[in-house]
């Protein structure tokens, strides 16, 4: 029973962190171009060509 006193707030805190992260990502525009984001991971622009 005493465990509940600190387990529940911990669970809520972790959930709250997830929520804050999601809201930050929406605010920074990461959800504005869902189609483009899906394709950008496939572009080969980080390897220098020999």
């Amino acid at each position: 029973m005493t465990m509940l006193i600190y387990l529940i707030p911990i669970a809520l805190l972790m959930g709250g962190l997830g929520l804050a992260a999601f809201i930050w990502s929406v605010r920074s525009g990461q959800f504005d171009d869902l189609d483009g984001a899906a394709y950008r991971i496939l572009t080969d622009d980080d390897d220098e060509k020999p």
Binding site: A11, L12, G15, F31, Y39, L42, T43
Partner: protein
Amino acid sequence: MSAIAADDIRGCPSRLEPASDAPVADPTPFVKRTDDGQSRLDLSVFGAKCGGCISKIEGALNALPGVTLARLNLSTGKLVVEWKDATSRPIDIVRAVTEAGYRATPFDPVAQAADSDAEGRFLLRCLAVAGFAMANIMLLSVAVWSAQDGEMGPATQKLMHWISAMIALPAAAFAGRPFFRSAFNALKARHANMDVPISLAVILALGVSLFETTSHGGHTYFDAAVMLLFFLLIGRFLEHRLRSRARAAAQDLLALQATTANRMRSDGTLEVVASGDIVPGDRLVLWPGDRAPVNGDIVEGSSAFDISLVTGESAPVTKKEGDALFAGVVNQSNRILMRANATSDTSLVADLARLIEAGEQSKSGYIRIADRAASLYVPVVHSLALATFIGWLAVGAGGYTAITNAIAVLIITCPCALGLAAPAVQVVATGALFKRGILVKSGDALERLAKVDSIVFDKTGTLTHGRFQLTNRDEVDNETLRRAALLTRSSRHPLARAVTDIAGAGEVADDVRETPGCGIEAVLDGTRARFGRGEWLGIDHESGDDESEAWFQFGQQPPVRFVFSDQLRDDARGTIAALRQRGLSVEMLSGDRVGPARRIARAAGFDRWTAKLSPGDKMDRLAVLKKQGHVVAMVGDGLNDAPSLAGAHASLSPGNAADASQAAADFVYQGDGLAPIVAAYDVSKQARRRIIENFSFAALYNAIAIPLAVFGFVTPLIAALAMSGSSVIVTLNALRLRGSTEVETLR
């Protein structure tokens, strides 16, 4: 890896859209300054469809000197470019995009809502909070439900309830805003919409639960209230995403108007201005390829013009000094000077935009199935809740029992399934159509197309390819073709282009002179060569249509005849037959002459067709059909078809149509054939069936659940199960759509 690198292909590397040949407009008037002193340009890009397009466009721009940011939003087609001042010229930026094979027009973000989707972000935030609250309250609720038989002491239960209350109340206040606002506005206007019972259910559920928590334990409905908000917000967000596509298309029409023009100052120098800044009396220069930005008259020069805006046919017409020009006509051969006699606001393009808007207004009067269900739902459910309350009081139970049972009725009738019934189906249907290259502009477009009983087709560009093709290739020997192409590669005339298409890329003769309305000539290896109309070459030949025929003469050799026609699309006949098979009546309306119209109508299999119609005549015909009680869909592509497309009950437009038509149409289909029209119709009919099934299921479920609630059998566990169960079933039913549509090949 492959023989042809993506860089060699102009336009989309995945071939999802043909490359564009549009001329480059100088965007200087639209360049803005950023806060850190750089120049910024917002462009609307057409033709970018795949990931390869992103790397191509951004790669081309990043290669220019001084560019610090180049970002393309694939979902909206908006490109943002920032660069250090004076290192690159704005026109080079646009040229880099155009040379990659995409059309780019500047657009003014101030003229539009904002380039970030504020409403969508707001809904996502509400959704996130509701989801967080639902998940965490469920954590506590499941514990309470599973310990019903006395494992959990009253003190622990009370703790669970209190923590649930502390999560639920602020979360519902935050996440319920879209519904509370909408319900409040509706009530202020003295009518009820779906959001009124939703808001009522949420507020009452929270109120009762709070009361239970503070008084003596018992049932709390915090999880049901928050779950309701979560599922409904999913539906709202999906609807919003769907509608933002329609909004983007209308904004692209504005982009068409945000063009630039070359104005001649009094000292004879040229300046680039935005079309909106032109005043009557301004002198404007039109180079070949330019579109007239406003109505005016020619003051100097003569040239051939593409007046498809007015007639729908791209056969050029010669205009000389003193002739009037309409905004939107394209100059094809020579530089001319014109004087504006109107502003861009009163131009023909603006008039068309207004007509389109009027058509859209009439369409927004269409009552969607969801709204019909809502108008039925609201009074029935509220009366039942009231009857329950009064009933229990009459039987002698206390006020407390009466209220909780009445609220249980409100909660269990679950606007959840109703809120998801239509959006779930619409999302699956539009996704299925998108895979086939058909863009759906709005959710109710599917419902409207499912109800049509007749389809009206435009001819040129819709049933036919819309460009001239050489039909007597076997009568023209290779050497003649080669020589003719040396001349035709320099001209924009549609017949010349048709010859260039067959001959392919190659050299152009030096010093080609074009006489508008007559032909082109040049000197090849010391001999005079001419390509053009028979009369101009002095040939006395009886032919049916001199616009579809041209002659080539090399020196004194006998002239060779080139015959052109606008060919019917390959699957046109099959498509018309398939539509007839589905019980639709089909008709063709054309602005062209009787001869070509008759030929195409016969080949495609129409038994009703009319020729020589103006855009106004087409709209009149649609009105007549409507009065006869028909529900009409229209398929068209020209700028002049746009008002008819907006006014029809449902409309479709090919992907290479004029921007205004694409903006006005409900469906835009890609590719060379007409088969997508049948696919769109089939999917729409299925979608309508699914939506009705979903609403029927919701009604059935309510019929079972309401008696349970009225008689007091509903506990929070049952409420939560009912809510999630009904939402899941509605979504699964919507997914049935994806698996059951087949595409047939139509020949």
